[in-house]
Every structure is written in C-alpha cells, then in structure tokens.
C-alpha cells in the first residue's frame, strides 16, 4: 500500500525516497563493497560472479559498489577481470557478457592476492576498501563472502580483525559476513568456528548460507502452509501418517572426492539442507515473516527433535555407498574408484534417518529423511503422506485405496502435487488414485532467479530470513552427532551396498518396512 505522497520520514528520521514506493525494488541496497575470499575457486566462477553480474543486469546492485576478489593466485586486476568475464560467458543464465555494460561492471571489479596466513594482503585489502569508500562512495559498508574451504574460515576472520576490518573497528557503515556451508565438520568444530566468528562479528551480522533455502519452492513451503486455510488444519499427527523428505542426485562426487571423502552424505546434505526442509515443514506458524520470528520457530522445532541414543543409531539410521552401475546407459565406477577417494573408504554416499518430533503437533509421526548420490533420478521433494481412511465403504475387494498425499517438488520440477482418490467412471464403485499438479513454471509463467542471486541480494539488503542462525546450526549438529560418531567408529562391512542408478541400499527399505511403510519411488 502506498503512503501519502510527499516526503515521509523514516523511523530513523531520514526522508525516504518517495519515488521508490510501489516499484518492484522498493527496498534499496546500500552502497557497499563485496569481498569474495576464495575468488579464483569453482564456486566463484560457476555461481557467485554470474550472480553478481545478473544482479547488475537486473539493476539490483546499488549505484555505488565494488567487488573485490581475494585469493592466493597472483593476478592483476585485469587478469582477474578477464577470468571473471570468461566465467560469466560460460555460466551466466543471461549468456555472454556484452559491452558497454560489462566494461562498466568490470571497472568495479578489483583483486587482492595473498595468503590467508599473511597479514600484509589484509592491510592491502583495508587500503582498497577505504579507497573505494572515498572514490566510489561505498560508505564504509562491507559484505565479506567466505567461499574458501572451511579450514581457513577462522584464519580469515582473525586476519579481518587484525587488519581492523571488523564491524567493531568501523567508524561508519555496516559489515556483514556470508559463510558457506559446511559450518564445521561436527559439533565441536562448529562451536570452535562460532567462537572465532563471534569474536569479530555479532550474530545479526553473520549470514550462514545454504543455497537450498534460496530456491523458490523452498520459500513456497511457508506460503503453502500459512497463506492457505485448507492445509493447516490437517498438518498434524491426527491426519499425517509420515513425512518423507528426499534429496536424490544422479551425480557422483564430480571431482570433489578429496572433500567428500571427509564429509559424507550426513554432513553434506542431511545436517543442513534436509534438516532445514524438515524445520520449514514442521515448524509452528511464525507471528510475522520477519527473519527472527521465522528462525525462532525453526529453532523451536529442531529443539523438539527426539535425541538419538548411540545404541539406537542402527534402528533409525542407514548408510550406503554406491558401487559401479549404469545411469542413462552410461557405465559408472564405484565410489571407491573415484579420483582422490580412499579405495577402502568408509564414507557414506547415502544416508537415511528417521526422526521423531516430541511436541503436540507431531508426536509419533515419523519424518524419514534421505539423501544420496548416484541414485536412479535427480529430484528433491517433501512428501506429506496422510493416514488411511478410517473405514472403507468403496471399492471392490481387490481395489487398493491409497492414502492421500501432498508432495512439494523442489527440483528439478518446482511445484505441488496432491494425490487423492476418485471413482473410475462406470457402473461399479472402483476407486483409483489421481493427481492434481501445480507447476510454478507454467502456473505463473515466470522463471525464478537462481538461489545465489536471491541470497546475495538479501545479504546486501540485510535480510537474514533465508540464512541459518547459529542456534539452528548447533541444534542440527547435536541431532546428527550420535549417528556421525557411531558411523565414524564402525566400519561398514557391506560397502558398497547399492549400485549406481538404483533406489539406494536395501537396508533403507528395511528401515521403513519395520514401521510398515515404504519409500516413495525415486
């Protein structure tokens, strides 16, 4: 709703820009410098610089801005710009970059080379940022993005502090830091990293990024639940039999064997992406869409997850590792044959876990989570499986009456499917399952921006809604630690236990079969 025209004062006493009201970008980004640590890495090339370029094309960057790449490689500004141009040409959704806009953008791109252990390049970075404030009008606002291996997160934060680049050293403007996942490799390391972070940044200045949360269908989970009256009354133990959350990939480790062999599916996917989906599905309605109110509810529901005792791990969690197999007619090697992977690796490439939530809404409703590589199909979804009808009056003896289901499709399809039962036309009362589909692409005829564009834009505007707060990160680690410790301490003698291109290990089927249920087919 538009306010009265004129010169409305903001709560801080400043006059707002009345021309902004009612426009699509009515929340303006402050002038700022964005510093990317690990700027010559793969993430920068594939995702981050294309995201920045597309924000520029969409006129979503502030008028005064600078992008500083920081990495070990010895490059000049022009060398770095050339690398970034190549990356944009190759990976940007908008196609190759063209002049004169690219030249204008490139003028705002700078580079600082140096080792993360060395204080000198951080002093140089400080001089560069101060120069940007003076010459480009970035007003002391800084957004740091850690896209390095997690092992150097702490070092970079220490060096920022030593070079007086932290928020406490600022005379004007704001500082925020985006930290890529994984935030720690277990509970202890996460707490140690958090201790490093809060020495320099306050929690409100920390943006822990999980690109899954920037996907449009993930955001729509809340819209589906809290912008409709028809779903919330049945969103509880009275109507829901179980919830299945799946993040299945067909790819293997794709050159990341060295990293992945120290991570595994539980750390790489379940502890962050998949548990975040669980929180969005299971949380209570927040009192407002503000970042803190939503994150309060997510934390509360994660706190209600029933702790898993070490002795019970084998009853609620299953691990798997892919063997050789065939996907799309192409023969693929086993995980242990992948480059940089230990030939006797004990790392899981598949994990499924059964969680219970001890609160009034969800008591006794199992949440089955699974994620794996080299499975039969690439897809992510959340399936709410409803209970069987209490009394069957329709259908012949041989008819199957499937329980209803609501499926939120996250990728590659984005939409919602509802499965329900209908009568097959004819003189007899035969019943069959049918589906109703809603697809974002065709439903609204618009393509949503990639997650990184959305999330970087949000961080620049100071909107932390789609970023994970420390209490949720810590709780997620606490939840998975017993499983992690059990698996770390025991050799999986059956690895590899599922062929590439399959539905996963048979032990995962047994996990659900023990409860009288089956997985939705991948």
């Amino acid at each position: 709703m538009l306010t009265q025209p004129g010169a409305p004062p903001a709560s801080d006493g400043h006059v707002l820009n009345p021309l902004r009201e009612g426009l699509s970008s009515d929340h303006v980004t402050d002038p700022c410098t964005i510093v990317f640590f690990g700027a010559t890495g793969d993430l920068m090339k594939r995702m981050l610089i294309p995201a920045m370029w597309n924000l520029r094309l969409e006129n979503l960057l502030p008028t005064s801005y600078a992008i500083v790449g920081f990495s070990r490689s010895n490059l000049s500004d022009d060398d770095f710009r050339a690398q970034m141009k190549d990356a944009v040409d190759q990976f940007s959704r908008s196609g190759p970059a063209k002049d004169p806009l690219w030249s204008d953008f490139a003028q705002h791109v700078q580079y600082v080379s140096g080792d993360f252990d060395d204080p000198r390049p951080f002093k140089k970075l400080r001089a560069q940022l101060e120069d940007n404030d003076k010459k480009l009008g970035t007003q002391g606002n800084r957004l740091y993005y850690l896209s390095t291996p997690p092992s150097v997160f702490g070092k970079i934060i220490d060096q920022l502090s030593a070079a007086k680049l932290g928020p406490k050293d600022q005379e004007q403007g704001w500082s925020r830091i985006i930290i890529e996942k994984p935030f720690g490799t277990d509970l202890d390391s996460a707490r140690a990293l958090q201790a490093e972070v809060i020495k320099v940044f306050e929690e409100r200045q920390v943006y822990r990024i999980d690109h899954y949360l920037g996907k449009e269908p993930v955001q729509d989970i809340m819209a589906l639940r809290f912008a409709n009256v028809i779903f919330e009354p049945i969103w509880n133990r009275r109507y829901v039999d179980c919830v299945q959350i799946t993040a299945a990939e067909t790819v293997g480790v794709e050159g990341r064997g060295g990293y992945y062999d120290n991570a595994g599916a539980l750390r790489d996917m379940i502890q962050n992406h998949v548990i975040n989906l669980l929180a969005l599905v299971a949380m209570e309605p927040p009192i407002s869409p503000s970042a803190d109110h939503i994150r309060d509810e997510k934390y509360k529901v994660l706190s209600a997850l029933r702790p898993i005792a070490g002795a019970d791990v084998s009853k609620v969690a299953v691990r798997g590792q892919y063997g050789a197999g065939v996907i799309d007619g192409k023969g693929l090697p086993s995980y242990r044959q992948e480059p940089s992977v230990d030939p006797n690796s004990n790392t899981e490439t598949y994990a499924s876990v059964k969680f219970l939530i001890d609160n009034w809404r969800w008591a006794d409703v199992p949440f089955y989570l699974r994620s794996g590589k080299r499975l039969a199909r690439k897809y992510s979804e959340i399936a709410i499986n409803f209970r069987q009808i209490p009394h069957r009056i329709f259908g012949e003896t041989g008819d199957t009456i499937e329980p209803d289901a609501l499926v939120m499709k996250i990728q590659p399809e984005e939409g919602v499917t509802i499965r329900f039962n209908a009568k097959i036309p004819g003189p007899k009362m035969h019943i069959r399952s049918v589906t109703m589909d809603f697809n974002y692409g065709t439903g609204f005829g618009v393509v949503s921006a990639p997650a990184y564009e959305r999330l970087i834009g949000d961080a620049m505007r100071g909107d932390a809604t789609l970023f994970t707060r420390w209490d949720a990160v810590e709780t997620a680690w606490q939840i998975v630690m017993p499983i992690l410790e059990d698996w770390r301490g025991s050799v999986a003698t059956d690895f590899p236990n599922y062929p590439s291109g399959s539905q996963g290990p048979s032990s995962a089927d047994a996990l659900l079969a023990a409860d009288g249920r089956t997985w939705r087919r991948i």
Binding site: Q4, V15, P18, L19, E58, P100
Partner: protein
Amino acid sequence: MPVHVDTLDDVASILERLCKSRAGAGPGAAVAATMNFVVFIDDDAHRRWVLERAERIAEKHPSRMIVLDSTHAIKGVDVSCGSSEGTGATIRNERLDLGIAALDHESIVATAHQLTIREIPTVLWWSGARLLESRTFLGLAENADVVVIDSSGKAHDEETLAELCTFAERHPHVALHDLAFLRLAPWQEMIAQFFDDPALRADLFALSAVEIESGSAAEALYLGAWIGSRIAWEALDSHTFRTRDGRSLSFERIKNGEQRRILRVTLRSDHSTYAATLCGERVVRLSVEGANARPPWLVSLHAVSSTSLIERAILAPGADKMFEATLATLRGLMR
C-alpha cells in the same frame, strides 16, 4: 483442428461443441483454467500481432480464451481445445474465436458473458481504438475483473488517456492496467535511483523542471504524472505543476524517435541536472551534473515484451495503487 459453428445465436450450441472438442483430447482429460481471457480486436493491421501475443499467454496460463474479432476476418465461431504436449491428457486451454463484425454491442457483451466460466476471474485485453465511445468496451469492462489496454502508439494517445482517466474515475472497482504505463517500469527505477543517495534526496523536493523526450505522448505524460503523484505535485495545466510549497515547475514534452520509446528524461533543480539518456539499444546513461555532480553510470534497459507486460497485469493482485495515483495526477495534466 478448430470446430466451426456458423452462428453465434446459440450459445448452448457453442458450449456443446466445446465439450466435444474437449473429449477429442482423450479419455480422462482434465480441464484446468485459471482465467477467462477475453481479447477484443477491431484493427486489421493489428490483428495478427494481438493474436500471437494472446496465444502465447494462453499457452502459459490455462485459460478459456474468447477472441472477439470485429475485423471481418472470421464469421461464426471457431472452437478449439489445446492439450499439453507429451501428456495428451491435460487440456491447457480452450479457445473460442467469435466473428462479431455484424453484431450489435449488446449481443457481443451478452454472448461473451455467457461463454465465460463463472468461478474464475475474467481478464479483458482491449486492443480497440477508443474506450468511452465504445459501448462494447464499457459493457465488457463492466463484466471483467481485470482490464488491460495499451494507450500508447495510437493516433490519439492523449484522447485515449483522457478517456482512460474518466473511465478509471467512474469504475473504481475495475483493476485497470495500461501497457504504456507498465512499459515505463525500468525508467521509473532509473529515475528513482538518482534519489536513493540520501545526499541527493533533498533535491527531489527542489526540482524546477522536468523534460521528457519520447516517440509517443503517453509515455511522457505517464512519467511526468508518476513523478508528480509521488511528490504531491498538482498539475495546473499540460505544461505546469505546482509543488507542495507553492512553486511552479515546468513540464516539457519533446516528441522524437520511435513510438513507445523514451529517449531522455531530464530533471532540473536550481543547482543540479539529473539526466537519464538512452545511449544504445538497451543501455541508459545516468548522470548528475552541477552542485551534486556524480560520475555517470550505465544501467541496462530490459526489453520487456508486450506479452510479459500483459502477464504482469494478469498476475498483479488487485488494483495498482501506483497507477491509480498516477491517473489522478494525469487528470490534471489532461485538463
């Protein structure tokens, strides 16, 4: 293939043909429609252009499209159902092309109304030349939830805008959208950008002149009225605003270039000049000169297709308050 019905007299017969056409999509076909999409055409030269865009929208949005064709290109009614490629089981859209050249306005309005699905919203895309003079427009608009027109690029831009202002005043319940206004969104963003810098914001309230160079009148009038509406300027006549503090401010329009395109917007205060100048096919140079001088910067000008603009109008929730405020200021400019 469309099924042809010779006469429009029997609506029941048309709907019966529609049901038969649906059945042709295969057993178990489901019908999904999100809107009635009524498209009015009265210009032979424009007919193909309108139909192509309407078809693109219908392909993306499951709908019942009712084409009211007043150009003599067809007689009777063509009825068809489009099914989605691959599945063959889901009807994505239904289409009725009605040749209405021989019908009076009451029959057109009544027939269109009877052919709409009652439970879903009706969007009217009116590509006709005149508004208030057309009783068909008034009748169709009365039954529509959303009305989309394009006031730009016609022979009588200013008259169309004047009619639109009157219509909006008389029919406040209709969610009205003008493609000429929607097309201005990138320019609105650019002009707003000048004053995002708090140091320059005070100058927005000290402007003394606005100059807009464009290929057709609608763009310049809308842009001037939009700026005025946001800063509470009162339009005294077509070339003068009065600011809240009682100053006079000149508003100059220069006609130059292609229709529907803006070439330059210049805002002047006593101390500085703010200019947004088209300097390439899709690039605009923004500059601030004078006391508040800033280094010039470039922004991309997205080419937004008419199809996308119509989609925006369709998907917009309810009335566009910013457009309504602009129309209120525009009324003063049109006096």
